[in-house]
């Protein structure tokens, strides 16, 4: 087994190695000024690439922009178009229906159960098949002496370019410590020192070290505990079953969902007094052709269903490109290299061995900096897969002592070792990857969307993170707003009296598309990407 780098890459590594001890021992690289950051973003961030966006022609966000691929799905045909679905004899009848089995959905279900509601989870894959499982770096919470929710608030607002919904940010930061405490008491194994103090680090854009972690399996550790707790509580989980439309009652309130068994394609009806959308992100939409760090099922289903039901979206035009996606080797192209690698000291270095920016700028700035380095300055590292920049991982053990990388970043080490790259010895090549949907469905502090009794939690929500999310605030957001949605939905269901169920809003949306002259052959929600080769003749 030998290192699969090309000769050109090996030659460049010599330049990277030459400056390494100076980087380890020298002062931190300079951080950019606010003006420098703005200029960089405008020129290089994919959100500013206007040709990749399109105007939404119908619905609550008519006239606003969204990525082309999302607009296509928002304006596609319902999967049950022209079908007569019997809503009178539902297959499931519950108080709270949670759609999605990731961290937000599981948290919502646990809290709804705690609140005494009869709650059920439906998920199109398995419970835990979600971006939560893949979150590596950690979860923010202002629980240290030198920190406060107000300081956290400032970081979140600044990182989000002050576009965040202030009341949602307030909830995020003020409920942060109790969210971590809740997980701690459920038995999540956080990294602690011998006295029980949480070991915390920086993330990009944080002004205090408030990143709590469970090695680099933070999300996986949280998810497997939440999943275990859902099962212990006897909460029913209907897996391999996708929600494909929200059902309303005749008063226009959310009242359930049409479900589809992913394997048998059987349609089912779930009636519920309140509904929680926790369907996650959209990486598998591959906006602008980017690879993604996301889970197989990240296809913006919740946005599509909620939009058809009349819920407004917010910041649907802003996506997060994680600066450090794998650029090489091919087998893990686009996979995530956790920001924690930089929290622990690894720096960005170009082909000539030069550091070209501070390693912990916010994600949008860091991603733009890498794009500039490769596209404009031509100083990227060429690999057989994609161009990128070096992330100088051997610095970590030099700074913290031999064995640190293995202990604190075991998942990363294992991922690269599978392809014979020992990141303790050689740097790795990274390039931005589609990572997070900053925007989503608009909610109030009670977690409810613009549609009565339709709650939203997790990555499907828009507004908490403004136009850019900080590392560690997503795991925090799914717990804080997942729990909140579950609490609110279980409280609310006690006063709901359902009227007759209807799908008339789906017909009405189809009519709006007709009137706007929009016709395509696509159906939505997308549910799964299709990676089979094109140009092959198949019968469906």
């Amino acid at each position: 087994m030998s290192l699969p780098y090309t000769q050109e890459m090996l030659d460049s590594i010599k330049k990277v190695e030459a400056g390494r001890s100076a980087r380890v021992n020298g002062p931190e690289p300079r951080r950019m000024t606010a003006d420098e950051k703005d200029a960089l973003l405008q020129k290089f961030h994919p959100d500013y690439n206007t040709s990749s966006f399109e105007e939404i022609k119908v619905g609550p966000n008519k006239g606003q922009k969204a990525p082309k691929e999302l607009v296509e799905m928002l304006q596609a045909n319902s999967r049950i178009k022209d079908m007569d679905i019997n809503l009178k004899d539902p297959d499931f009848d519950v108080d709270v229906l949670v759609i999605g089995g990731g961290g937000a959905g599981a948290s919502a279900a646990i809290e709804a159960n705690e609140g005494g509601a009869n709650v059920m989870i439906v998920t199109k894959l398995r419970i835990g098949d979600a971006n939560t499982m893949m979150a590596e770096g950690g979860i923010q919470a202002a629980d240290k002496e030198n920190d406060s929710p107000a300081q956290h608030y400032l970081d979140v607002m600044g990182g989000g370019h002050f576009a965040n919904v202030p009341e949602l940010v307030r909830k995020l930061v003020c409920d942060g410590p109790s969210a971590v405490n809740w997980l701690d008491h459920l038995g999540v194994l956080f990294d602690k020192d011998e006295n029980g103090n949480m070991i915390t680090t920086h993330g990009g854009g944080t002004s205090r070290k408030r990143m709590h972690a469970a090695a680099d399996y933070s999300g996986a550790e949280i998810m497997r505990v939440l999943r275990d707790e859902v099962i212990n509580r006897g909460i029913p989980v209907v897996d391999f079953t996708a929600a494909i439309e929200i059902i309303k009652d005749t008063e226009g309130k959310a009242a359930g969902a049409v479900l589809m068994n992913m394997e048998t394609k059987e349609l089912l009806v779930a009636r519920a007094k309140t509904v929680v959308i926790a369907t996650g992100g959209a990486g598998r939409m591959h906006y602008q052709g980017f690879p993604t760090s996301n889970h197989y099922g990240a296809t913006a289903d919740g946005l599509v269903m909620a939009y058809r039901a009349g819920a407004e979206l917010l910041y649907q035009d802003t996506l997060q490109y994680h600066p450090t996606g794998v650029a090489f080797p091919a087998q893990i192209y686009g996979a995530l290299v956790t920001e924690k690698v930089r929290s622990m000291g690894a720096m960005f270095v170009n082909r000539e061995g030069e550091v070209f920016m501070h390693p912990l700028e916010t994600r949008d700035v860091a991603a733009s900096g890498i794009i500039r380095e490769t596209k404009e300055r031509g100083l990227g590292v060429h690999t057989p897969v994609a161009d990128g920049v070096w992330l100088d991982t051997p610095m970590i053990d030099m700074i913290h002592g031999k064995g640190t990388l293995e202990k604190r970043l075991p998942g990363m080490l294992r991922m690269y070792m599978r392809y014979d790259i020992d990141m303790r010895e050689v740097p790795i090549v990274v390039y931005p990857t589609l990572h997070y949907q900053n925007g989503g469905i608009k909610i109030g502090v009670n977690g409810m969307s613009g549609v009565e009794n339709l709650y939203v939690a997790g990555e499907a929500v828009g507004g908490i993170h403004g136009r850019n999310r900080l590392m560690g605030n997503s795991l925090l957001d799914i717990i804080v707003f997942g729990r909140n949605a579950g609490q609110q939905a279980s409280k609310k269901c006690k006063e709901v009296e359902l009227k007759e169920l209807t799908l008339s809003h789906v017909d009405a949306f189809e009519k709006m598309l007709d009137e706007a002259g929009l016709h395509n052959d696509l159906v939505s929600p997308k549910l799964l990407p299709d990676y089979r080769p094109q140009g092959v003749t198949r019968l469906n």
């Binding site: 608030y153 410590p177 109790s178 038995g187 956080f190 002004s207 394997e263 197989y296 599978r418 799964l528």
Partner: protein, 224 residues
């Protein structure tokens, strides 16, 4: 033309580029995956897979998303394995030796064959962490099993019917909840927030005009 290899997906032969993972080989061959595909990056355990190279006797466990195809590889995915998961109330149980005996007594039937360790897709010392669980050494079991993705290949190979990932998860939760020291700074902060001690500070920053907030952000002190 890329280097091609022959793989046998559920026994049927397909020719695929040698650079693909097993998961990509399925897709290249025309499968639209629903089962056996999750995070596609080695964290979720959805794509447990068993393979054997033609002519060899050894059976390998792996994750389809993180393993490259090889020539003459016979592949069967294991998208679901019936692990035995016992339910319990985390607030009622205690980290005693008895709790394992009560919930997962089959771990004491381990015959020491080490098939679990050999099959582990994460390269963990599975038999060792089960040994720790037998002895009630839950912290050690937690540490040894920490990288488990619960794919279930170990259990598929176990003659004693042990559900190793579930045993390890119980040990980790017991460790996290009962054996690790309390994070006092966290407990105190939660209490302080509940008592409204930060309300004024938060409201003050929320009341600031945008320009002032920006100024504050751009000049904030960053902890070294």
């Amino acid at each position: 033309m890329a280097d091609m290899v022959n793989v046998y997906l559920f026994g049927k032969k397909y020719e695929v580029p040698a650079s693909l993972t097993i998961m990509e080989a399925f897709e290249y061959s025309g499968y639209q995956l629903v089962r056996g595909c999750g995070c596609r990056n080695g964290f979720c355990g959805a794509c447990a897979t068993i393979y054997r190279i033609k002519g060899e006797t050894e059976l390998h466990g792996c994750l389809a998303c993180s393993t490259k195809v090889e020539d003459n590889m016979y592949v069967a995915t294991l998208p679901f394995f019936p692990l035995e998961k016992k339910v319990y109330d985390i607030n009622q149980i205690k980290p005693t030796e008895q709790i394992m005996m009560q919930l997962y007594p089959e771990i004491y039937s381990c015959v020491g064959c080490n098939a679990c360790t050999k099959a582990c897709t994460q390269g963990l010392n599975v038999m060792q962490y089960i040994a720790y669980a037998q002895r009630g050494e839950y912290e050690k079991c937690a540490e040894e099993s920490f990288d488990c993705v619960m794919c279930g290949v170990c259990s598929a190979r176990c003659p004693a019917g042990i559900s190793h990932p579930q045993v390890a998860l119980l040990a980790r939760r017991l460790t996290g909840k009962y054996l690790k020291p309390e994070a006092k700074h966290l407990t105190e902060r939660v209490k302080a927030i509940e008592n409204g001690e930060f309300d004024a500070l938060v409201e003050a920053i929320m009341d600031k005009p945008l320009e002032e907030l920006k100024e504050l952000y751009n000049n904030r002190e960053i902890e070294k």
